[in-house]
């Protein structure tokens, strides 16, 4: 290997190393950004706009700006989600949760819809079961022949009513 080739080889290695270092720092920044976005989506903005922190776009909202900055710093320090959450709750109270935590009283909020659905489904199934009637055996031909014009007309009216729409 000539000197020139060796120099070129080291140059390529150096370039690759520096570019991968640059890329990795960019990726790290992007990962941190994504993580901040993901965690920020779990908090409410405290400017009383009733929006999720990462979605608050109140013109001139200083609250969300400072909260997001605080969040970015915590993410940059490598704090865990639990640590960040407890920090925010300590500062702003439980109002800061965008969704109730899955513990304590808040479990009620999470479990209620499922309970409604289960109880409702049971109720509907019970109602259907209760309302189901035993179907009479199919009428015989002779019985059909014996039907009066009045009954036939009533049956026709009912069929029309039940099948029109």
């Amino acid at each position: 290997m000539t000197k020139r080739r060796l120099a070129a080889f080291f140059l390529v290695i150096a370039l690759s190393a520096s570019s991968s270092a640059l890329l990795s720092s960019h990726l790290q920044a992007q990962q941190a950004d994504n993580r901040a976005k993901q965690i920020g989506g779990k908090f409410m903005c405290m400017c009383s706009c009733n929006q999720v922190l990462t979605q608050c776009n109140h013109v001139g909202c200083t609250t969300s700006a400072s909260m997001l900055k605080h969040l970015d710093e915590a993410v940059a320090r490598g704090e865990s989600e639990t640590e960040i959450t407890s920090g925010f709750v300590q500062e702003f109270g439980t109002k800061v949760y965008a969704e109730p935590p899955k513990s304590g009283l808040s479990l009620v909020a999470w479990s209620l819809p499922t309970i409604y659905l289960l109880l409702g489904t049971l109720l509907v199934v019970f109602v259907i079961w209760k309302w189901r009637r035993v179907m009479p055996r199919a009428a015989t031909v002779s019985a059909v022949r014996g039907i009066s014009a009045q009954d036939l007309e009533r049956a026709r009216r009912r069929v029309t009513q039940e099948t029109e729409d």
Binding site: G41, K42, M44, S48, C49, N50, Q51, V52, Q55, C56, N57, V59, G60, T62, A65, G93, T94, K95, V96, Y97, A98, E99, P100, P101, G104, L105, S106, V108, A109, W110, L112, P113, Y116, L117, G120, T121, L123, V124, V127, I128, K130, W131, R132, R133, M135, Q161, E162, T163, E164, D165
Partner: protein, 686 residues
């Protein structure tokens, strides 16, 4: 004019009182003159409310800055267009506007049925007058929009004074949709008073049969349609004005509008069980009661400050009146039900689990579960504060997690329900109706998956959308094919003919199709992207396939505000596509700012660009861009829903028997057939 308005409101209150008390006496004595006078008092009440509302509008247009409400919500430079919107922008005016819309409904009902349903109408009139009395009490004694500015003079007397100009309208409301969104929503809220009055009236009068349901069907459809439009226009307003990139934030006030819509939708479906099979009478009556009570609850949430919301009116004690009214309504409904429950006895019989009836039961279950889940989530912060002393917020992530699966179940039933037969659906019918739609839906799923769609709920949603579209399409196809084979008309003409022959059924399908389009739009939300950047002229921002090039800024001075505009050139595939102008407006009168979002909307996606202000550290202008797929489908879906609802309101075109003279046939022997007049079949409207 303020005195005239106040006087008209006071007279309206007295007339409503007479309509209520006189109506009760009329019911007891059955004296025709008393019945007539109570009805006419009801009509006079409405006329007086119209006059009072016209007075307030006049006060806005004439810049009467001695009236407190006009000062608070208008200014001289406010565009004429928005002076109308100022009517409902505050607590007092919006309550008068509520009374006004209710008066339109009451006036129409009293006029349309003035010579009909003599047994029922006095009861309906009393209920309507009762509701009007409540709102007129608020208009007159609690939140009068005609209060004037007054101060105590040197000699201790009150002196009216005039301000040079008003405070102006909130910037967020200075947007064209704000002129049409609240009237639509309020028309929905107030419209549900009519089915409520008929249901309660029929229960009190023990009015026989299902006639009250036939009488109120169109009124309910109209109220439901307005509520739907109101909700969607509100969503569009939030999307285009608030600048957070979304259209539905599960805000308590948004939720409040959704609650009666959900129960109203449940009622529109379950009522068919009563019409067709005489079933579920108790359920239907309570669904109407609940829908009306939820309208009042929604108003309570918006106006009392119980829950925090950007949309809410200022915190006030007015909520106590609504709580009292709500309790009173519940007590009246409950007592009326207890006393007359035998009237609601019905023959509840089902032939099969797989039937239209069962699908309606499940449809009602899902809608009600969604309603209760939204209600409990909305009120949970209040309850958590009561029980634990600390308020726990319930935001959009919670509601999305809870309601997305429920919505998908509902979408599934939208496809399945209409194709199930009444009483019992045979296996053959199931295969015939659902075979192809299932295959098409699954195939679509495979295609979506192959195209890289991996988001579970969105994938399921889109598969269901294809499935439901197929079921609806096949219904139209089968029916139109039969008509085409008989008439020889084109397929489209046959489909239109089919729709016009049974507007309720096929109009319903069109409404369902609109809901499918809305769900397609909602499915896109999982793929929203956004990017934010500090930008200087010449710098670019890449989002998806678009490149935003900031060309510069300009500013303009309008009558009511000054505006700073970003000039953004949009590039796609290395070609300039269009210019966008997101702007920030500053309203001098009330010293508030607002955004105007710039949107490039296509069926595929919306490019949504917000001028998000200045970076507090660098003072550089910030652009926040969003790429929101399929949003346009939501607004298109809304239009289709409205179109479908209008179709359901049309009368059916049906085959009518027309008698005509028979041509003489000399050689034909006399028979029963020739003696009877011949019958010609002709198409016509009923």
């Amino acid at each position: 004019m303020d005195v005239f308005g106040s006087f008209a409101l006071l007279l309206a209150f007295l007339c409503a009182g007479y309509a209520f008390v006189g109506g009760i006496f009329a019911i007891r004595t059955r004296h025709p003159l008393l019945v007539k006078s109570a009805r006419q008092a009801g009509i006079a009440t409405c006329g007086l409310i119209f006059l009072a509302t016209a007075s307030l509008v006049y006060l806005f247009f004439s810049d009467s800055y001695w009236v407190s409400y006009v000062v608070a919500h208008s200014n001289r430079d406010l565009a004429t267009f928005y002076k109308i919107a100022a009517l409902w922008s505050g607590q007092e005016g919006s309550l008068l506007f509520w009374s006004f819309l209710l008066a339109i409904y009451v006036f129409s009902v009293l006029l349309v049925y003035r010579n009909k349903n003599g047994e029922l109408m006095p009861y309906v009139g009393v209920v309507l007058a009762g509701v009007q009395i409540f709102f007129l009490t608020l208009n007159n004694f609690v939140a009068s929009p005609f209060k004037v500015l007054a101060s105590t003079g040197a000699n201790g007397t009150l002196e009216i004074f005039t301000r040079a100009d008003g405070n102006g309208l909130t910037p967020l409301l200075q947007y064209p949709e704000m002129v049409i969104h609240p009237p639509n929503l309020y028309s929905g809220y107030t419209g549900f008073t009519i089915p409520f009055a008929f249901a309660l009236g029929a229960l009190l009068a023990r009015y026989p049969g299902e006639k009250w349901i036939h009488l109120t069907r169109k009124w309910t459809m109209i109220a439901w349609c307005f509520q739907t439009m109101g909700i969607l226009l509100g969503a569009h307003w939030a999307y285009a004005v608030l600048g957070w990139g979304g259209y539905w934030g599960w805000d308590p006030v948004e939720n409040a509008s959704l609650l009666p819509w959900l129960t109203g939708t449940a009622f529109l479906h379950s009522v068919m069980m009563q019409e067709k099979r005489g079933m579920m009478k108790v359920w239907n009556v309570w669904l109407v009661f609940t829908t009306f009570m939820l309208c009042i609850l929604g108003t309570l949430l918006t106006r009392s400050g119980v829950v925090s919301s950007v949309h809410a009116f200022a915190q006030s004690s007015i909520g106590n009146y609504f709580v009292g009214f709500l309790l009173l309504i519940f007590a009246v409904c409950f007592v009326a039900y207890l006393k007359n429950r035998d009237y609601l006895k019905s023959e509840n019989q089902l032939d099969s689990m797989v039937s239209r009836e069962s699908s309606f039961l499940f449809n009602n279950l899902i809608l009600l579960v969604s309603c209760i889940a939204v209600l409990s989530g909305t009120l949970f912060p209040v309850f958590s504060e009561w029980f634990s002393g600390s308020r726990i917020s319930v935001g959009a992530p919670f509601f999305n997690k809870v309601n997305v699966p429920i919505g998908l179940l509902l979408l599934f039933l939208t496809g399945v329900g209409p194709l199930l037969a009444w009483r019992k659906t045979s296996t053959d019918s199931l295969k015939r109706n659902f075979g192809w739609p299932l295959v098409i839906g699954l195939l679509a799923g495979v295609v979506f998956f192959a195209l890289g769609l991996r988001e579970f709920f969105s994938l399921v949603c889109l598969i269901l959308c294809v499935f439901v579209t197929s079921t609806i399409g096949m219904e139209f196809f089968r029916g139109a094919r039969v008509i085409r084979s008989r008439s020889g008309a084109s397929f489209l003409a046959s489909a239109v003919d089919l729709t016009m022959r049974n507007t309720r059924r096929y109009g319903g399908y069109i409404v369902h199709m609109g809901m499918v389009l809305i769900f397609v739009g909602l499915a896109g939300a999982a793929f929203n992207r956004d990017a934010q950047k500090d930008m200087q002229p010449g710098s670019t921002l890449q989002i998806g396939g678009y490149k935003l090039l900031l060309q510069g800024f300009d500013s303009k001075v309008e009558k009511n505000y000054t505006s700073e505009r970003m000039i953004v050139e949009v590039w796609r595939d290395n070609k300039p596509l269009m210019m966008l102008y997101p702007e920030r407006r500053f309203f001098q009168t009330n010293e508030q700012s607002g955004t105007m979002v710039a949107i490039y909307s296509t069926l595929r996606e919306d490019l949504y660009v917000v001028y998000a202000g200045q970076n507090p550290e660098t003072q550089a202008p910030v652009v926040h861009a969003y790429l929101n797929p399929l949003v346009k489908w939501i607004w298109l879906g809304g239009l289709v829903v409205v179109l479908g609802t209008l179709v359901t309101l049309l009368p059916n075109r049906r085959a009518v028997l027309v008698l005509s003279g028979a041509p003489e046939r000399a050689a034909q022997p006399a028979s029963a057939q020739t003696l009877a007049p011949s019958v010609a079949l002709r198409e016509g409207h009923d």
